[in-house]
Symmetry: C2
DNA sequence: GTCTATATCCCGATAGAC
DNA sequence: GTCTATCGGGATATAGAC
């Protein structure tokens, strides 16, 4: 835990770099993030990171992997209290948007990094639990639709609200986050109620 | 229209730069776009663009403005044929996703550029007609909800499908685009049907 | 409006010492 | 595992000629 102190890292530089990356992305966005500046912040040589990451993108991918875990945790926690399935799903959508609004850097690393995810199988693997969380939450009310389609629909709706929130469409600040989250929750309830329309094939 | 020909531009370099930017963004994403390379493609000096744009971001913003116009046109065209309001709205959501899938570069310039839109009032102005298109389409069925909330909900749902599509969540290629577009259209119908849930206040 | 030339800066990545 | 040193590349932006 000797971060930002001396010139030498006897701790876990790998973890420290991920922390620094999150900070930097939070301040300037993924676009303005560089390996060199992360090193400077930690007081290590710009070559030091290469002992832990093959290149810049690999560090960003590591941030994304961490994001997946936190994200899933927040989704599960946020949706645990309501009793009935529809409300749980709506709470999950709300948690989804709140995560984007409050953990902007992590959300960006996950969805706005411009990374080619096909090149990072571990990231793909880390994303799966997020989908799974929706699936689980949905399984109790799949009557009338395939669970996959309902889960995907809700996830997409939440995702849309989240990204538009980060784009400024809901305004700025705490109020904007809550507004977007609430909207996403309501849309979720609407989708659930009319879920039979999601699979018109039958 | 003497693009890519000689060394000197007697035409409209400003427009040519926007064209080149669209091409480049399409090939490497916004992230990998540079003013310098756009110049190189056109065979002009790297300093030439500065006669038309203050900096790199201003060119990207110009691309985004063009994107707004095309986007709106496609939304309006795509949603003009169905007779009843709900189907029109669903068609608009479908067109939204198709635009993202087929005009990737323009969609990225608009939503994944990392631009601070507050700095580009003309861009804000150019975005308005897109919201308006949804508003108009929604006005015929606002019974039970405020038109704004219904329009925003559908827009967010479409946007979520669009961004997840570009992220690869629906797979790659033509099939993926149509799948995502169809899903967005169905979700729209579900939202419309249960739209009274969007405004629980009353 | 465009060119040539240039200044500056930053970044990614590697080599070799400790 | 980290440092020093360095190479090579590319980008932004300006100055001044045509």
């Amino acid at each position: 835990m000797a971060r930002k102190r001396g010139r030498y890292h006897h701790g876990d530089l790998r973890e420290a770099l991920i922390d620094a990356a999150v900070e930097l992305i939070g301040e300037r966005g993924v676009r303005g993030f560089s390996l060199a500046e992360a090193s400077r912040r930690l007081g290590v040589a710009t070559s030091a990171p290469y002992a832990h990451f093959a290149d810049r993108d690999e560090l960003v991918a590591a941030v994304a992997v961490r994001a997946c875990r936190r994200f899933r945790a927040q989704l599960v926690r946020g949706s645990s209290e309501p009793r009935n399935p529809a409300d749980r799903l709506a709470a999950m959508a709300r948690a989804y948007v709140r995560f984007a609004g409050t953990q902007r850097a992590l959300f960006e690393a996950l969805f706005s990094s411009g990374l080619d995810k096909r090149r990072y199988p571990e990231l793909k693997a880390a994303e799966q639990p997020i989908d799974d969380a929706f699936q689980e939450c949905v399984s109790a009310l799949s009557n009338g639709t395939s669970p996959e389609e309902l889960a995907d629909a809700v996830e997409a709706a939440a995702h849309g609200h989240a990204t538009l929130l980060l784009d400024g469409s809901f305004g700025e600040g705490y109020r904007a986050v809550e507004l977007a989250a609430e909207r996403a929750a309501r849309v979720t309830l609407a989708i659930v109620e009319s879920r039979r329309l999601l699979t018109p094939g039958r």
